[in-house]
């Protein structure tokens, strides 16, 4: 049974085609129902508690890998395909989607795009914003609208891919997506270091980021007795070996650190995102015993298992630094008290106008998103 913040919908439906999904969505709009799109359900804790919830439109039956073209470095999949299924297919040609979101496994592609969840590899590749090349989206009035295409380079028309990316399904339900994919690196190595003091750990992180070939992922993890740094290098073998030599860290302890790391999730979970230069001070403002991990090169940190009373100060610090502290997951009462998103963006009025143009009846996820 699908629940969002404890709220049960009157109906759960799992359309088998994009057309059927769009038709059902349009029917809901006409009936004045509130619809929440659901993928793998891994990130349903995002957003404020919904104002209403009549229908869960589950995308997992849209599970077709439409096209994978290794020589073109492109892939097109339906929204309900899991990230693991797509990676397995791409892996046959030694390619991959450079996306390693937390809360894995089980994310669907549609869910990942709607929530903009990501992981450590964004240090090198960015989020899917940078390699999403096409979308098909079901709009509340039942139309299926495409943007972009299936080729890696395209400036034809407005880039509406970016409008839907991270919009938490508030403008439409993503039904299909096309990506630029990447060859697997020729060679990889992961190394780690530990520091007792935060300042020393930060300095080491900076040193890693300033290497001539920086790591493709760099994590700083607050563990009970230490600050742990883990760096992943990828590229040509000689180059990777030289970077590892220059950094002088030790081989990572775990057999598969990155897979274990991507399985992290929590019931109380904040994502702090600030200009990378400001992350150091914001991390410093976290309570002494806080549990967190961070991408120092990106400006993102995840803080888990906090108390409601601790959030306001951290959020204030993040917002003062020009960033945000978003509740990725929290008990509904806490979300109601604190608000999931924090300070309203300065352009909120423009965003509301866009929302109104796409979803005038307020069918999609009412109350959950920023607009």
């Amino acid at each position: 049974m699908v629940t969002v913040d404890g709220l049960k919908p009157k109906a759960v439906e799992k359309p088998k085609t994009a057309e059927a999904l769009a038709a059902r969505l349009s029917q809901a709009t006409r009936a004045g129902e509130a619809v929440i799109p659901v993928g793998g359900g891994r990130a349903l804790g995002m957003g404020d508690p919904p104002a209403r919830f009549d229908l869960a439109l589950v995308t997992t039956a849209l599970d077709r890998i439409v096209d994978v073209s290794p020589a073109d470095l492109t892939a097109t999949v339906q929204a309900g395909v899991t990230l693991e299924a797509l990676q397995a297919e791409l892996g046959k040609a030694r390619q991959f989607l450079p996306l390693d979101p937390f809360g894995s496994p089980g994310h669907t592609i549609g869910g990942l795009l709607a929530t903009a969840w990501s992981g450590p590899l964004r240090q090198r590749y960015g989020t899917p914003r940078e390699f999403l090349v096409g979308l098909q989206v079901a709009l509340p009035d039942g139309r299926l609208a495409r943007s972009g295409g299936r080729v890696v380079k395209n400036v034809s028309g407005y880039d509406l891919n970016k409008l839907h990316f991270g919009a938490l399904g508030s403008l439409g339900v993503i039904t299909e997506a096309s990506f630029k994919v990447f060859p697997r690196p020729l060679f990889e190595e992961t190394v780690e270091a530990s520091e007792a003091q935060f300042a020393d750990a930060w300095r080491e992180a900076r040193r890693a980021l300033e290497l001539k070939m920086p790591p493709v992922a760099l994590e700083l993890l607050r563990e009970p007795d230490r600050h742990r740094l883990v760096a992943r290098f990828a590229g040509s073998e000689d180059g990777v070996r030289r970077m590892v030599r220059e950094l002088v860290w030790a081989p990572v302890a775990e057999a598969d650190f990155w897979q274990d790391h991507s399985r992290r999730r929590a019931d109380r979970w904040v994502r702090v995102a600030v200009p990378p230069e400001a992350l150091r001070d914001v991390l410093h403002s976290l309570p002494e015993a806080a549990r967190w991990w961070a991408h120092p090169g990106v400006g993102v940190a995840y803080w888990v298992d906090f108390e409601a009373g601790q959030v306001a100060a951290v959020r204030a610090a993040a917002e003062a630094a020009g960033g945000s502290a978003v509740l990725v997951a929290a008990p509904p009462a806490m979300k109601r008290e604190l608000g999931a998103w924090g300070r309203q963006p300065a352009t909120i009025e423009l965003m509301r106008r866009v929302k109104k143009a796409f979803d005038p009846a307020g069918t999609l996820s009412p109350g959950r998103y920023v607009v």
């Binding site: 609208a145 060859p183 001539k212 040509s236 180059g239 200009p275």
Partner: protein, 480 residues
């Protein structure tokens, strides 16, 4: 039609007496960009800051005047052409690099800053700005953002949209906004992502925060000559198929090679059917290892001559041929016209064959010089404008070449933009529902439709794009 004295006076008060121009001789300069269409503005305004831009837009709103933002006017799809007259809003006075932040690796610039100049300034900090359109010595960062421009090195580094962190923009109602920023994962809709590449139809860009990247330790450039386009295309697919994404992977065909060699002596074998330029960068070891791997692949793919640039001078020369190729084509015919359709790179050989066939059919020489790694074609149709009635043939040939790209699963434009050159073709790739979603965004951000009218969206009731010479001044004989 011309503007009334009262409107001109208001504009002069808004931006300063010297910064409004409406003399017929001056207007002609702004009649064109680098595309094949032209139309006269009623006046040219040169605001100096966002407040002045806002004031101009408010006057335009009052007077119901179209407004067309303009950078250097190097665009190839007519984005800066004042199709319906009105105001050409030049950003030529926005030319400050406000700040380079070497630690955060970003720059804050005004839109009129020339792409190449930003590169020079960044280089003083060991950094570079990645998007490198061929016109980079003239084109501006604001124009690049409006068109989401590409360039040879976008294969590895991505296009302009991947390098813009935030922008200050003015909407047609005169309101000033900052979209995006240096913090990742911003809550709220990604307005920045939609505004980049919106071709001046949604907003006027008045400031940009862009990403800079550290200059790679080593760069390795190699030239490989192939007997045919087919064999070179196969080599492109094989390099990528081996898991190597070079920084740049460019192709030139026989016609281009001949023209380039006559001018630049870049050392491309004139007996070749096609030449590839491949560049890899990164660590010294990586560049060496990748170059060796690429050489091996190219040799297996019938490359009959491979030359690795030994020093920066040789590399410059290899690139001079590529970057100057279009100019060198003047050796063959005085005028050229090109599209920049994209195809899946596996379809390159068949699409290039079709492009050749179309050229032969219309008896127009075609020179291909393009971003092969991205599958981004640039068939240059060569002609002499003084030949009567030739434009019709050129346009028809261009249209058919684009059609061939679409039929191969491709798209209309990889980096030049839709503008008024290809808007009539938009229904080839987007259905009415797709276009309606884009129109919804237009209606929200520019409800008056005053910003750059007649671009991107297919014109109502007009099947073919028309060469519009509103004034009659841009007659064919006065080209270039």
């Amino acid at each position: 039609m011309g503007l009334g004295p009262r409107t001109l006076e208001k504009l002069r008060r808004a931006v300063g007496r010297d910064h409004v121009v409406w003399d017929a001789y001056d207007l002609v300069i702004f009649e064109r960009d680098a595309s094949i269409t032209g139309a006269l503005p009623d006046a040219i305004v040169y605001p100096a800051n966002a407040e002045e831009v806002a004031a101009v837009l408010e006057i335009a709103a009052e007077q119901q005047l179209p407004v067309v933002p303009r950078g250097a006017g190097t665009g190839l799809s007519g984005g800066a052409v004042t199709l319906h007259g009105g105001l050409a809003l030049s950003l030529a006075r926005f030319r400050r690099i406000i700040e380079i932040d070497p630690k955060g690796r970003t720059a804050l610039v005004e839109p009129g800053v020339v792409n190449y100049d930003l590169g020079l300034e960044a280089a003083r900090h060991g950094l570079f700005y990645a998007p490198d359109p061929s016109s980079q010595k003239a084109c501006t960062i604001g124009g690049n953002a409006a068109e989401n421009s590409g360039g040879p090195h976008c294969l590895y580094y991505g296009v302009t949209t991947n390098h813009i962190l935030g922008m200050e923009v003015v909407l047609s109602d005169g309101s000033v906004h900052w979209v995006g920023g240096e913090d990742p994962d911003q809550p709220g809709l990604d307005l920045l992502g939609v505004l980049v590449g919106s071709e001046g139809t949604l907003a006027v860009i008045t400031k940009l925060r862009v990403k800079l990247l550290p200059t790679p330790e080593a760069v390795s450039t190699l030239m490989a000559a192939f007997p045919s386009i087919e064999s070179a295309s196969k080599a492109v697919s094989d390099v990528i198929g081996h898991g190597i994404v070079p920084a740049a992977l460019e192709m030139m065909d026989k016609v281009t090679i001949g023209a380039v060699e006559a001018h630049y002596k870049a050392g491309y074998p004139t007996s070749a059917g096609a030449v590839l330029l491949v560049e890899v960068d990164g660590l010294t070891e990586s560049a060496r290892e990748l170059t060796a791997a690429i050489e091996q692949i190219l040799e297996m793919d019938e490359a009959f001559e491979i030359r690795v640039a030994e020093d920066p001078a040789e590399r410059e020369l290899l690139w001079a041929g590529r970057k100057g190729a279009i100019g060198a084509l003047g050796h063959i015919k005085p005028n050229y016209y090109l599209h920049d359709g994209v195809v899946p790179r596996t379809r390159l050989p068949e699409v290039l064959r079709e492009v050749g066939r179309i050229g032969e059919h219309y008896r127009l020489p075609v020179a291909n010089v393009f971003h092969a790694g991205d599958g981004n074609l640039h068939p240059n149709i060569l002609f002499d404008l003084r030949e009567k009635g030739i434009m019709k043939k050129v346009e028809k040939a261009g249209e058919e070449m684009l059609r061939a790209c679409i039929d191969a699963g491709g798209t209309l434009s990889g980096e030049h933009g839709i503008g008024l050159e290809k808007n009539a073709f938009m229904p080839w790739i987007f259905g009415p529902d797709d276009l309606a979603a884009m129109q919804a965004v237009k209606d929200v951000l520019d409800p008056s439709g005053r910003l750059n009218p007649g671009k991107i969206f297919p014109p109502a009731g007009q099947i073919e794009p028309k060469l519009i010479a509103r004034s009659g001044v841009a007659s064919e004989a006065r080209w270039w």
